[in-house]
C-alpha cells in the first residue's frame, strides 16, 4: 500500500483557490457531468459513434467535451474468473470523470503566446475566447491532454470551471449535477483536507486509494499540484493519467542554454572559418 506518499496531499494552490475533488470511489458512471457540462456550456455533440470501449463512447477530453467519464473493466482476472466478493466502493469497473486539472502552474497557460489563457480570481485557468487565435501551442503543452483546437471555430477550448457560474455564485454544472457527490466543488485546501481524510478512511478499509493531483502524484514536476484533483483506486495510468508529469516550461531555460552553447560553438567555428580560410592557390 502506498501509505505516506499518497497522504501527502500538498498543493501550492493559493488560499482562496477553487477546484474539484473527483472521488472515483463514489462515481457510478452516469455521465450526468458530461451532459450538464455540454448543456450549460452549449457544446455541440461529438458523435464518436459506437466505440466498444466499455461504456465510454466519448474517449477523451476535447474542444467540445470538457468532462469525460472513463470506464475500465476489471471484473475478471486474467484467467477469466469473476470475483463475487468485491473491494469496497468502485473496484472492478472503474469509472473516472476526467476534467481539466486547473494546474497550479499550468503548462497551457505558460505556453500561450497571446495571453489568452489566464488565471482567474478563483485560481482557475480559462481560455479567453476573444483573445485566442488558435495557434494551438497550448494543446501539446498540456501534460494531461486537456485543451484542444475546435475545427468549428479554430480556437482552443477547455473546461472553464464554469467561470460564468462562479461569477454568479453558482457551483459548476458538473458538480451540481453529480448525484453521488463524486464530483465536489469547493476551496482547494478544504477539498484537499477532505480528500486526505477520505483516502485514510479508504485505506483503513483496505482500498488502495490515493490522491491524484497533489505534489506527490499528478501535480509533480513543477506543476505544483492540481486544483482539480482526484481520488483513484488504481495506478493513474489505468485511467489514462500520467503519474509524474512535468511542467513543460521547466525545460525552456535549460534548452535555451544548450542552444546558446551550441550557438557559441558554431559561432566561433564560423568566425574562425571566415577568419582563417586562406586563398586557394590555383595550379
Amino acid at each position: 500500500m502506498n501509505s505516506e506518499s499518497t497522504l501527502v496531499g500538498r498543493t501550492r494552490a493559493r488560499p482562496g483557490a477553487f477546484g474539484f475533488l473527483t472521488d472515483t470511489t463514489l462515481c457510478i458512471g452516469c455521465k450526468a457531468c458530461e451532459v450538464a457540462c455540454k448543456q450549460w456550456n452549449q457544446l455541440p455533440m461529438d458523435d464518436f459513434g459506437f466505440t466498444g470501449m466499455s461504456y465510454d463512447n466519448t474517449g477523451d477530453l476535447g474542444a467540445t467535451t470538457w468532462r469525460h467519464v472513463a470506464f475500465i473493466e476489471r471484473v475478471a482476472d486474467r484467467q477469466g474468473r469473476r470475483p463475487t466478493r468485491l473491494q469496497p466502493f468502485q473496484s472492478h469497473w472503474l469509472m473516472l470523470s476526467d476534467v481539466c486539472k486547473h494546474c497550479v502552474n499550468a503548462g497551457c497557460m505558460e505556453a500561450c503566446p497571446t495571453g489568452a489563457i489566464i488565471r482567474t480570481e478563483f485560481d482557475t485557468v480559462v481560455i479567453q475566447q476573444d483573445v485566442c487565435n488558435g495557434c494551438g501551442y497550448c494543446v501539446p503543452a498540456c501534460p494531461f491532454g486537456v485543451p484542444a483546437l475546435s475545427p468549428l471555430d479554430g480556437k482552443a477550448h477547455k473546461c472553464t470551471l464554469c467561470y460564468d457560474r462562479l461569477k454568479d455564485g453558482l457551483e459548476p454544472a458538473c458538480s451540481k449535477a453529480c448525484p453521488t457527490d463524486a464530483i465536489q466543488f469547493g476551496p482547494v485546501h478544504a477539498l484537499m483536507d477532505r480528500a486526505k481524510a477520505r483516502v485514510a478512511e479508504l485505506q483503513a478499509q483496505g482500498v488502495d486509494a490515493r490522491i491524484y493531483g497533489d505534489e506527490a502524484l499528478g501535480g509533480t514536476g513543477g506543476i505544483g499540484g492540481l486544483n482539480a484533483f482526484f481520488i483513484l483506486t488504481a495506478p493513474p495510468e489505468v485511467y489514462n493519467l500520467p503519474a509524474a508529469p512535468e511542467l513543460p516550461q521547466r525545460r525552456v531555460l535549460p534548452a535555451f542554454l544548450t542552444t546558446a552553447l551550441a550557438a557559441l560553438v558554431l559561432g566561433v567555428a564560423t568566425l574562425l572559418s571566415f577568419w582563417r580560410t586562406k586563398e586557394v592557390r590555383h595550379g
Partner: protein, 846 residues
C-alpha cells in the same frame, strides 16, 4: 404492485430513498439502481460510507455492482428460487429461532399464527399447482385458500360490506396449519443446493448473502431491499415481489428506518400514474375499477363485494363517493348512487398487451399515444407495429417524431419493401408535446413523494402540455355530445370539466386540479385537511383520497415545500398517504409501543401525551394506545388492536399467507420463465406458471422449453444514458452521443464460441423476429452453470429503434406477448434467443 399490496396493504414502496442511508445492509435485486435511479443511489452510497453492506444480485455486473460489496450473478428468471431459499434459510437459522425479536415481530405484526383452511393444498402436495386449480380455464378458485374460522355477516351499515372473518389462531405457531408452518413447509425444498442448481449461484455465496442479511436484521439493525422492473417483468413478477415482502416480514424489517422494500419505479412519476392511474382496472387511490359483472351492478353491490368490514378499506365508501362527487359534481346525488352508473364498467383485459392484439384484430380502431413509444417499447414490436397499422386513427403526442409516429414510412418492414406505406390505412396525427421544464406540474417519485416543478420556459411553437391537450379534448367532447341522451352522452355531460386556464397558451390551472385531487367540502369549497375528513354522504369531493391533504386548508400546495432535514424531511414535498414517509411505521416500535432500539427509533407511543410521536407522521391512528383491544363487533380501524401496523389489511397484519388478492397462489412458487433453456427443478410436471396469460396466436410464437434453436437466455434492460423507448433521449444530441448505437453484451466465453469480436455486427433472433446490434464482449456478462450445463446469457438494452440520432435494432422485436396474471406486466427480463455474427439482409440499422 399487487405483490406488495397483497401482503402489506399498499402497492407502494414501504420506505423512502433517504432512509436507505440508515440501512445496515442493502440488497439490490431485480434492479440496476445506479444506472436507472442514479439520484436515489446517492443514499445507497451514503449507507455504504456509513458501513452498510451492499449486495447486488443480478445476471450482469452493472454500474450498480461496481459499488457493491457482493455481486451475485444469477440466471435471469430464477429470482424466486433465491428469495425462497432465503426464506427457508432464515426460518431454519439459529439466529431467527433464538432471537426473541423475530418471534415478537412475527407473532404480533404478521398473520403467522392464523390457521389456514384444512382444504388448502400446497404446490408441494399437488406437483406444482395449488388447490383450486382449474386446468381448463387456467385459473384458480381461491376458496380453499381462506382462513379457517368463523364468518360473521355484518348488518346495520349504511353501505354494505363483506362479512367479517374471525380466524382461528395458534399463538404457539406450532399448529401444522398455521400460516408460519405452511410457509415453512412450502419453502422446505428451497435449499442452497437448489439455488446452486437453478440460479447458478454457488452455495457458499448464497449462504454468505443469507448470513449477511440475517446478521443485519433484528432489533438493532435493518436490511432494505431495492427492486425494480427486473422483478416485475416476469410471468411470476408479482410473486417474486411478494416473496420479498414475506422475507422482510419474517426478518422484521418492514416499517422500520433503514428497512423495508423500495420499489424503484420504471421512470419519472410512474408511481403517480398508478396512484391516479392510467391503468384500465383501477380508479384513483387504488379503488378497484367496477367491472361489467352482476356483483358490481350498483354502488351497493360494489361495496358488498369490495368493501371489507375491518381495516382502513372499510372507509371505501367515503373515498369512492368523494371521488364520484369530484368527477360528477351536482350530477352525483344520493338518489342516483352518486352517478355510479356513469363509471365505465370494464368487460375484460384491456392492459397494454391485450389492446395490441385487439388493435391488430380490428377490435380497437383508434389510439392515443402519450408519453409512450409502442413501436419500440411494445413487446413483439413487429406485432405492435402491425397493430398500429391496422388502426383507423392514431394520435401521437411527443416531443420528437418517435417511431410510433413514423412507423408507416420508416419501420424496418417498410424499408425492406415488405409493407408499403400506401397500404397502411392508419391516419396518424402527430402533436408536439411540452417537456417537463416547459410546464408546471408534479412528479410522484419512487417512494410516493410528490414534488412540484415549475415551468422554466414556454414550450416552443404549438407544443403544449398533456394537461392542456386532455382538457381541450374533454371540452370538445362535451360540445360534441351536448344534448346526447345516450349513456355515453349523459356521462360526458355529467362530468365536471370546468377548470380555469392561465397564461397565453390557456394552460390548465393545475392548482385548481390539485385542489380537486386533495379534496374539499362541497358546501363551501373549503379544502379538507386529509382523507379522515372525507364523508360517504356526498358532502365532500376528493379526486384521489390518498393524495388528500396535499393542498392545505390555507391553499398551499405541499408538494412545493422544500425544507429538508436529516430525518424524515417532512417539509420536503408531500408523501402519500397523509405525508407518511415510512409506511407501516407502527412496526418501528415494539408491541408495547417502545422503540425496538435507540438506533432504530422512528415513532413510538408517548404515554404522557397518549399519542404516537416521533420523526415521522404515524401510519396508525395517532391516539390508539398499544394495548388497545377491539370490542366485539368493531369495524374499520377500530377492529384492529393497538399492535396492528398494517392498517390497510383486514386484520392489520402483514400476510405471510395470502388468502385473497393474488391470482396465482397464496404463496410464492418458482416457475420458470415462459421461455427457458432449462426445466423447473421443483415441478418438472408444471415448469411454467399455470395461470400466466398467454397469447396463443400465429403472430406470437413461443419457444418450447429447451428449444435447441434458441439456446441462450436473453435479458433486456436500460442504460443511464437513455430513457425508456428513447423518445426523450435518442433525439437529444448530448444523450445520443453517449450511447450512440444499439448493442448486445455477451461474455467472452460465448463470443469465443461464436467468433464474435467487440464492434462486430450481430443478429439476435427469436421466433418473433430479429434485431441487429453491435457486439460488446465483456466479462461483466458471464455464463452460468445450471444443473450441470452451461447457460449463456445475452444482455440487450431495449432503448433503441430506427428513429433519432442513436439508432439500433429493437430489442422488443424479440420479446413475446406473455404476462403476469396479477399485474398484467409482460415478461421481458428473461426469454430465449439465438445470436449470430453478421447483419440482417434488410438493415434495421441505418
Amino acid at each position: 404492485m399487487p405483490g406488495l399490496g397483497a401482503r402489506l396493504g399498499r402497492g407502494g414502496a414501504t420506505t423512502t430513498l433517504a432512509s436507505l442511508a440508515e440501512s445496515d445492509c442493502i440488497v439490490i435485486m431485480g434492479s440496476n439502481m445506479a444506472e436507472n435511479h442514479p439520484v436515489g443511489f446517492r443514499f445507497v452510497v451514503k449507507a455504504r460510507e456509513r458501513g452498510a453492506r451492499i449486495i447486488h444480485v443480478d445476471p450482469r455486473f452493472s454500474r450498480t455492482s461496481a459499488l457493491a460489496d457482493l455481486h451475485v450473478p444469477i440466471r435471469p428468471g430464477s429470482d424466486l428460487v433465491f428469495l425462497g431459499a432465503l426464506v427457508n434459510y432464515v426460518l431454519n437459522s439459529e439466529r431467527w429461532n433464538s432471537d426473541p425479536f423475530f418471534r415478537e415481530y412475527v407473532l404480533h405484526y404478521t398473520n403467522a399464527s392464523v390457521l389456514v383452511s384444512p382444504d388448502f393444498r400446497d404446490t408441494e402436495d399437488l406437483a406444482g399447482v395449488f388447490s383450486g386449480y382449474d386446468p381448463q380455464q387456467h385459473r384458480y378458485d381461491p376458496s380453499s385458500w381462506q382462513y379457517a374460522g368463523r364468518v360473521q355477516p355484518l348488518d346495520g351499515e349504511r353501505w354494505p360490506c363483506r362479512p367479517r372473518i374471525e380466524p382461528e389462531r395458534d399463538p404457539t405457531l406450532q399448529h401444522p396449519n398455521c400460516a408460519l408452518q405452511v410457509v415453512k413447509r412450502h419453502f422446505a425444498r428451497y435449499t442452497p443446493e437448489l439455488v446452486e442448481q437453478a440460479c447458478g449461484v454457488p452455495r457458499d455465496l448464497f449462504v454468505e448473502v443469507a448470513d449477511t442479511i440475517l446478521a443485519n436484521s433484528g432489533r438493532d439493525r435493518t436490511t432494505a431491499f431495492c427492486y425494480a422492473v427486473a422483478w416485475t417483468q416476469h410471468t411470476i413478477g408479482t410473486q417474486i415481489i411478494s416473496c420479498c415482502a414475506l422475507l422482510q416480514l419474517l426478518l422484521g424489517n418492514i416499517g422500520r428506518p433503514g428497512g423495508g422494500i423500495l420499489a424503484l419505479r420504471g421512470h419519472a412519476t410512474i408511481q403517480g400514474s398508478t396512484d391516479i392511474p392510467t391503468l384500465f382496472d383501477l380508479l384513483p387511490g387504488y379503488l378497484k375499477m367496477p367491472q361489467a359483472i352482476p356483483q358490481h351492478a350498483t354502488l351497493a353491490d360494489y361495496f358488498a363485494h369490495e368493501r371489507p368490514a375491518t381495516g382502513l378499506w372499510y372507509d371505501m365508501p367515503k373515498f369512492l363517493i368523494s371521488l364520484l362527487k369530484a368527477w360528477y359534481g351536482d350530477a352525483a346525488t344520493p338518489e342516483n348512487d352518486f352517478a355510479y352508473e356513469f363509471l365505465p364498467k370494464i368487460g375484460g383485459d384491456y392492459s397494454f398487451q391485450s389492446i395490441l392484439t385487439m388493435m391488430k384484430d380490428g377490435i380497437i380502431k383508434g389510439l392515443f399515444v402519450m408519453g409512450m413509444n409502442p413501436a419500440v417499447g411494445g413487446q413483439n414490436a413487429r406485432l405492435a407495429r402491425q397493430a398500429l397499422a391496422n388502426l383507423d386513427w392514431l394520435v401521437v403526442r411527443d416531443v420528437h417524431e418517435i417511431e410510433t409516429a413514423s412507423f408507416w414510412y420508416d419501420a424496418p418492414e417498410v424499408r425492406s419493401g415488405e409493407v408499403r406505406p400506401q397500404d397502411i390505412k392508419t391516419e396518424v396525427f402527430f402533436l408536439p408535446a411540452a417537456i417537463a421544464a416547459e410546464k408546471d406540474g408534479t412528479f410522484t417519485n419512487t417512494h410516493r413523494l410528490v414534488q412540484w416543478h415549475d415551468k422554466a420556459v414556454d414550450p416552443p411553437g404549438d407544443a403544449r402540455s398533456e394537461a392542456h391537450f386532455v382538457f381541450q379534448l374533454g371540452q370538445r367532447l362535451k360540445e360534441l355530445y351536448a344534448g346526447d341522451e345516450s349513456p355515453a352522452g349523459r356521462q360526458i355531460a355529467a362530468l365536471t370539466w370546468d377548470y380555469p386556464t392561465v397564461g397565453p397558451h390557456q394552460e390548465l390551472d393545475l392548482m385548481a386540479v390539485a385542489r380537486e385531487i386533495s379534496g374539499y367540502r362541497v358546501s363551501d369549497g373549503r379544502p379538507v385537511a386529509g382523507f379522515q375528513e372525507l364523508a360517504d354522504d356526498g358532502s365532500t369531493a376528493c379526486g384521489c383520497w390518498i393524495y388528500s391533504g396535499i393542498v392545505t386548508p390555507e391553499g398551499e400546495h405541499r408538494a412545493k415545500r422544500r425544507r429538508g432535514d436529516d430525518r424524515a424531511s417532512l417539509d420536503w414535498g408531500f408523501a402519500w398517504p397523509a405525508n407518511r414517509r415510512i409506511l407501516y411505521n407502527r412496526a418501528s416500535a415494539d408491541p408495547q409501543g417502545r422503540p425496538w432500539s435507540e438506533r432504530k427509533k422512528w415513532i413510538w407511543w408517548d404515554p404522557e401525551q397518549q399519542r404516537w410521536v416521533g420523526y415521522d407522521v404515524p401510519d396508525f391512528p395517532a391516539s390508539k394506545p398499544p394495548d388497545y383491544q377491539p370490542p366485539p363487533g368493531a369495524r374499520g380501524l377500530e377492529a384492529h388492536p393497538g399492535t396492528a401496523p398494517f392498517i390497510m389489511m383486514l386484520d392489520g397484519q402483514g400476510w405471510l399467507f395470502v388468502p385473497r388478492g393474488l391470482l396465482d397462489g397464496p404463496l410464492p412458487t418458482h416457475y420458470e420463465p415462459w421461455e427457458t433453456p432449462v426445466t423447473n427443478p421443483l415441478y418438472p410436471a408444471q415448469p411454467r406458471s399455470p395461470v400466466a396469460p398467454v397469447f396463443l396466436r400465429p403472430d406470437n410464437p413461443y419457444h418450447e422449453i429447451g428449444d435447441p434453436r434458441y439456446p441462450y437466455v436473453i435479458t433486456t434492460y436500460r442504460l443511464t444514458e437513455h430513457h425508456t423507448a428513447g423518445g426523450m433521449s435518442r433525439w437529444v444530441p448530448w444523450l445520443a452521443e453517449l450511447q450512440p448505437a444499439g448493442f448486445v453484451e455477451l461474455s467472452p466465453e460465448l463470443a469465443r464460441e461464436l467468433g464474435i469480436t467487440t464492434g462486430d455486427w450481430v443478429v439476435v433472433e427469436t421466433a418473433r423476429g430479429c434485431a441487429e446490434a453491435r457486439a460488446l464482449v465483456t466479462e461483466r456478462v458471464q455464463p452460468l452453470v445450471i444443473a450441470g450445463r452451461t447457460v449463456h446469457v445475452i444482455g440487450m438494452p431495449w432503448h433503441f429503434g430506427f428513429g433519432g440520432l442513436a439508432t439500433g435494432g429493437i430489442a422488443n422485436e424479440l420479446a413475446a406477448l406473455v404476462k403476469d396474471p396479477n399485474s398484467l406486466i409482460h415478461e421481458a427480463k428473461s426469454f430465449t434467443c439465438t445470436i449470430r455474427k453478421g447483419r440482417l439482409q434488410e438493415g434495421v440499422v441505418r
